[in-house]
C-alpha cells in the first residue's frame, strides 16, 4: 500500500480551484470599468431625472456609438501600441470615403442595398490603399511616425480638397435614403460588431502576424534578431488601420448626408477623441483578451459620456463634461505610467504603519532610549 502524505493546511494554502479563482478575478477586473461607468451614468441620469436610455431606439444609437468608437480605437491602436502615432488616420478615412462616393456617384444609388454595400466595401478598400501608401512613405523615409503622419495628413487632406475642389462640409448623397437607416438597425450593428471582433481576434490573437506584432511591441531589436520581419508587420498594420478607418468613416457618414473635408490638420482630431478607451483598454488588457478589453473600454467610456450628457440638469454642461473626460484621460495615463511607483509608495506606507503599530518605529525607539 502506497503512503500518501496528508495535506497540510497552512495560512498560505490556496483553494483547490485556482483556475476558477483566476477566471473570477480576471472577469471582475475586466468588468470593473464598465460597471463603474454604468453606475456613474445611472446615478448622473437619475439625479437629473432621466433614464440612462430613454428608449430602445436610444439604446441602439448608443450601441452604434460604441461600435464606431471601437472601430476607430482599433484603427488607432493598431499602430499606436507599436509606438507609431498616426495623425493621418482621419484624413485617410475622409479621403477614402470621398473617393468611393465619387466613384459610385451616378453609378449606384444609395437607396439600394447594393449601393450601401458597394460604398461600404469600396471605402474600406480605398482606406487600405491609402493606409498602405502612408505605411510605404513611413518605411521609405524611416522618420518618426508622428512626423511622416503629419506630412501624410497634409497630403491626404490636400488631395481630398483638390478632388472636391473646396474644403468644409459637402453633401455627398441625397437625404432620406436607405443608407441613413442602415446603421440604426440593431441587426446591422450586431452583425458588424460580431464580424469585426471575429476578424480582429483572428488577426490580432490567432495569427502569425499578431504573434509577430506583439513580439515587435515588446522589443523590436530582439524580435528582428529572431527573424521577425518588421517591415512586413508594419505594412500589414497600416493596411489594417486604413481598412478600419475606412469602415469608421462609412459608419459615420452613412447616418449623415454630409461629409466634412478638413484642411490644415483639422482631421487629426479624429485621433485625439479615442485616447480614453485606448488607455482604459490597455489597463484592462492584462486581465483578458485584447479585443474584449478594448470593447469593454469603449463601452465604459461611451456609458460615462452618456451619463455626463444626461446630467445637464446638474450643471454639467458639454464643456464641463469634456473637461472631466480629459482629466480622466490624464489620470488614467498617470496611473498607467506611475503604477509601480504608486504601489511601492503604498507598500512603504503600510510597512511604516505596521512598524508603528508594533512599536518598532525607529524614531520612537530612539526617543525611548534617550
Amino acid at each position: 500500500m502506497n503512503y500518501t502524505q496528508p495535506k497540510q493546511i497552512t495560512v498560505n494554502t490556496r483553494m483547490p480551484n485556482r483556475k476558477l479563482q483566476r477566471i473570477a478575478k480576471n472577469t471582475g477586473m475586466t468588468l470593473i470599468w464598465p460597471v463603474i461607468c454604468l453606475v456613474v451614468g445611472f446615478i448622473l441620469s437619475a439625479a437629473s431625472g432621466k433614464d440612462l436610455f430613454q428608449s430602445v431606439n436610444n439604446f441602439w444609437v448608443f450601441m452604434s456609438t460604441v461600435l464606431t468608437t471601437f472601430v476607430a480605437m482599433w484603427a488607432l491602436n493598431t499602430n499606436l501600441n507599436s509606438g507609431r502615432m498616426d495623425f493621418s488616420l482621419g484624413a485617410t478615412g475622409i479621403l477614402a470615403a470621398l473617393l468611393s462616393s465619387k466613384v459610385l456617384g451616378g453609378v449606384v444609388s444609395f437607396n439600394t442595398m447594393t449601393g450601401v454595400a458597394s460604398f461600404f466595401l469600396l471605402t474600406v478598400l480605398f482606406g487600405m490603399i491609402i493606409g498602405l501608401i502612408g505605411g510605404i512613405v513611413y518605411i521609405l523615409t524611416r522618420l518618426p511616425a508622428i512626423v511622416t503622419s503629419l506630412g501624410m495628413c497634409l497630403v491626404f487632406e490636400g488631395i481630398a480638397a483638390v478632388v472636391e475642389g473646396k474644403s468644409g462640409q459637402i453633401q455627398y448623397r441625397p437625404s432620406g435614403m436607405l443608407a441613413a437607416k442602415f446603421t440604426s438597425q440593431p441587426v446591422n450593428i450586431i452583425l458588424i460588431l460580431v464580424i469585426i471582433i471575429f476578424l480582429m481576434s483572428l488577426i490580432i490573437c490567432y495569427s502569425r502576424f499578431g504573434y509577430n506584432k506583439n513580439a515587435l511591441v515588446y522589443n523590436q531589436k530582439i524580435a528582428c534578431d529572431t527573424g521577425i520581419k518588421e517591415i512586413t508587420s508594419c505594412i500589414v498594420c497600416y493596411l489594417l488601420a486604413g481598412g478600419l478607418i475606412g469602415l469608421y468613416e462609412v459608419l459615420q457618414d452613412l447616418s449623415s448626408t454630409y461629409m466634412t473635408i478638413n484642411v490644415d490638420l483639422g482631421s487629426a482630431s479624429t485621433v485625439f477623441r479615442n485616447f480614453l478607451p485606448i488607455f482604459i483598454g490597455s489597463m484592462m488588457m492584462r486581465y483578458s483578451n485584447q479585443l474584449i478589453s478594448s470593447f469593454f473600454a469603449c463601452l465604459a467610456t461611451t456609458l460615462l459620456t452618456r451619463g455626463l450628457d444626461n446630467a445637464g440638469a446638474l450643471g454639467i454642461t458639454s464643456p464641463i463634461s469634456s473637461l472631466i473626460t480629459s482629466i480622466m484621460i490624464l489620470g488614467v495615463l498617470t496611473y498607467m505610467v506611475d503604477k509601480q511607483a504608486f504601489i511601492n509608495w503604498v507598500k512603504m506606507r503600510r510597512y511604516v504603519w505596521k512598524q508603528k503599530r508594533l512599536g518598532l518605529d525607529k524614531n520612537k525607539v530612539k526617543k525611548e532610549k534617550r
Binding site: V147, E157, G158, K221, C224, D264, I329, L333
Partner: protein, 485 residues
C-alpha cells in the same frame, strides 16, 4: 616677414621705427599730437603697404605657378621613366599580370605623390597669402597699441579696423563657396528668399494684391511660438498642446482687458499664464515621467475643455473691439525681435541651450554627465510658455477677438511643420537652431499666399504636405536609423 611684424607688436620702439613716429609725449597735449601724427603716418604707410601687399601677392602667385610647373614636370618625367622602364620589358613580361599590377601601382603612387605635393603647395600658398594680407591688420594693431601707450592706457590694439583687416586677410571666397556645411545651413533661408521672390513675381504677373502685412502678421504668430518651442524640440520631444495653450492665454488676456481695461496687466497675465502652462507640462513630463507626446496630446484636450469652460457663457467667442490694433505693427516687431534675441542668447550662449542639445543627442548620456533632465525640462517648457503668452497677446491686440476656429488652434501643429521646414531635424540635438523656427514660420505663410496669388488656393495644402515631407527627409538625411524609427 612674420617675425618682423610680431616684433612690431611686442616691441614699441620697433613700432615707432616702422611707423616713423617719435616716442616723446610729455603730457596730454603731447599725447594727442603724437596720436594725430601717428594716425597720419599710419594712413600714409597703409597706402604704401597696400601696394607692397599686391606686389608681394603677385610675386607669391608667380612662385606658386613656378612650383606647380616644377611639380608637373617632375610628374611627367617620373611617368616617362616608368613608361620607359616597362617598355624595355619583353612582350611576355609585359603580359604578366603581376607586372601589370606593379606598373599600375607605380603610376598611381607617383600621381598620388604629385597630388599631395600640389595640395601642400596650395595650402602653403593660402597660408602665405593670409600672412601677407595680415600685415595691414598688424600695422593697425601696432598703431592702436602705441596710441594707447602714449595716452597712458593698456590695450591689445584691437579695433574695428583691425577686425576688418583681419577678416579681409582670412576671407577666402573660393573656400567659402566650396563649404558644403555653410550651403546646407543656408538652404532654408535661400529657399525662403526664392519663394518670396517668386511670390512677388507671381503677384506682378497675376495682378494679385500683395499683402505683406498679412504675411508678416501670420508669420509672426507661428514664428514666435516656434522660437520658444525650439527649446522643447531640441530635447527630441514634441509639444502638441501649443495651439490650445495659446488660445487659453489669448482668452485670459482679452477677458482681463475687457474687465480692467489695462493692457499692461493683460500682457503680463498672458505671459504668466503661458509660463504656468509650460511648467505644468514640464512637471507632468518630468516629475510624473509621462511620455511627452501623449501627455501633451492629453493636455491639448484638457486646455480645449478649459477654453470652452471659461468662454461658455459667450458661446466660445469673445470680442473686445477696443483692443483691436493696439500698438500697431511696430509693437509686434519689437516683441518678436526682443523674444528672438532673448531666445538666441539663451540657446546659443548659455548652459541652457547646450544642455538641451545634449539631451536631444543622447538623454541617457546627458543624465549621466550630471545634467538634470527635470531642470532642463522645466526651463525649456517655461521659455516655450513665454512664446505662447506673447503669441496670444499679439493675436488679441491684432484681431480684438478670440475663437476656436482661428489660426491659434492650429498653431501647435503648424509649429512642427515650420520647424521642420526651417531645417531643424525632428530628433533635436546639436543641429537645433532658432533660425529654423523663424524661417519655417514665414515659409508656411508665404507659401499659402503664393498659391493664393496663383489662383490655386486649393492646392496649397497638398503642396505644403509634399514640401514638408521633402524638407524633413532632407534635414534628417544623415540621422535616419537602420531600423524603423
Amino acid at each position: 616677414m612674420e617675425n618682423v611684424l610680431n616684433n612690431i607688436i611686442t616691441d614699441i620702439d620697433l613700432a615707432d621705427a616702422y611707423l616713423g613716429a617719435d616716442t616723446a609725449c610729455a603730457d596730454a597735449v603731447g599725447a594727442e599730437n603724437f596720436s594725430a601724427k601717428l594716425k597720419q603716418l599710419h594712413k600714409e604707410k597703409n597706402v604704401r603697404l597696400s601696394a607692397e601687399i599686391s606686389e608681394q601677392l603677385k610675386e607669391r602667385k608667380a612662385r606658386l605657378k613656378r612650383d606647380a610647373e616644377e611639380l608637373d614636370a617632375q610628374l611627367a618625367s617620373s611617368l616617362k621613366a616608368i613608361e620607359e622602364k616597362y617598355s624595355a620589358l619583353s612582350v611576355e613580361e609585359r603580359a604578366d599580370k603581376q607586372r601589370q599590377k606593379e606598373y599600375k601601382d607605380e603610376v598611381s603612387g607617383v600621381k598620388t605623390v604629385h597630388l599631395r605635393s600640389m595640395r601642400k603647395l596650395n595650402n602653403d600658398y593660402d597660408q602665405d597669402v593670409v600672412t601677407i594680407k595680415s600685415q595691414q591688420a598688424l600695422l593697425c594693431q601696432a598703431k592702436n597699441k602705441r596710441i594707447a601707450q602714449a595716452k597712458g592706457r593698456k590695450s591689445d590694439g584691437q579695433s574695428l579696423a583691425t577686425v576688418y583687416y583681419g577678416v579681409k586677410a582670412t576671407f577666402n571666397p573660393k573656400k567659402t563657396l566650396k563649404n558644403k556645411n555653410l550651403w546646407k545651413s543656408l538652404t532654408p533661408l535661400l529657399v525662403l528668399v526664392a519663394l518670396f521672390v517668386a511670390y512677388v513675381i507671381t503677384c506682378s504677373i497675376t495682378g494679385y494684391n500683395m499683402n505683406i502685412d498679412n504675411i508678416i502678421i501670420s508669420g509672426i504668430y507661428v514664428a514666435i511660438v516656434a522660437v520658444g518651442a525650439v527649446f522643447i524640440y531640441s530635447q527630441g520631444a514634441f509639444d502638441m498642446s501649443l495651439g490650445n495653450a495659446t488660445l487659453v492665454c489669448a482668452a485670459v488676456g482679452i477677458m482681463t482687458y475687457a474687465s480692467t481695461g489695462n493692457i499692461f496687466l493683460s500682457f503680463v497675465l498672458c505671459v504668466f499664464l503661458g509660463i504656468v502652462l509650460g511648467v505644468v507640462n514640464a512637471i507632468l513630463a518630468n516629475c510624473l515621467r509621462l511620455p511627452v507626446m501623449v501627455m501633451t496630446l492629453t493636455m491639448q484636450s484638457v486646455l480645449s475643455a478649459v477654453y470652452a469652460n471659461i468662454t461658455a457663457d459667450k458661446g466660445g467667442y469673445i470680442e473686445v473691439t477696443a483692443m483691436r490694433g493696439i500698438g500697431g505693427m511696430a509693437v509686434k516687431w519689437v516683441i518678436l525681435i526682443a523674444f528672438i534675441v532673448f531666445c538666441v542668447v539663451l540657446f546659443n550662449y548659455t548652459k541652457i541651450g547646450r544642455r538641451n542639445k545634449m539631451i536631444g543627442a543622447n538623454a541617457t548620456c546627458a543624465r549621466f554627465s550630471g545634467i538634470s533632465l527635470m531642470k532642463a525640462g522645466i526651463i525649456s517648457f517655461a521659455v516655450s510658455g513665454i512664446g505662447l503668452g506673447l503669441c496670444g497677446f499679439l493675436y488679441i491686440t491684432q484681431m480684438g477677438s478670440v475663437n476656436t476656429g482661428t489660426a491659434l488652434t492650429s498653431v501647435g501643429l503648424n509649429v512642427i511643420i515650420a520647424i521642420n521646414l526651417g531645417g531643424m531635424p525632428t530628433s533635436g540635438g546639436p543641429k537645433s537652431r532658432i533660425a529654423a523656427a523663424i524661417i519655417g514660420g514665414f515659409f508656411c505663410t508665404i507659401l499659402d499666399e503664393m498659391f493664393a496669388a496663383m489662383g490655386l488656393d486649393i492646392y496649397r495644402y497638398l503642396a505644403k504636405g509634399i514640401i514638408f515631407l521633402i524638407a524633413v527627409c532632407l534635414t534628417s538625411l544623415g540621422d535616419r536609423p537602420k531600423r524603423l524609427a
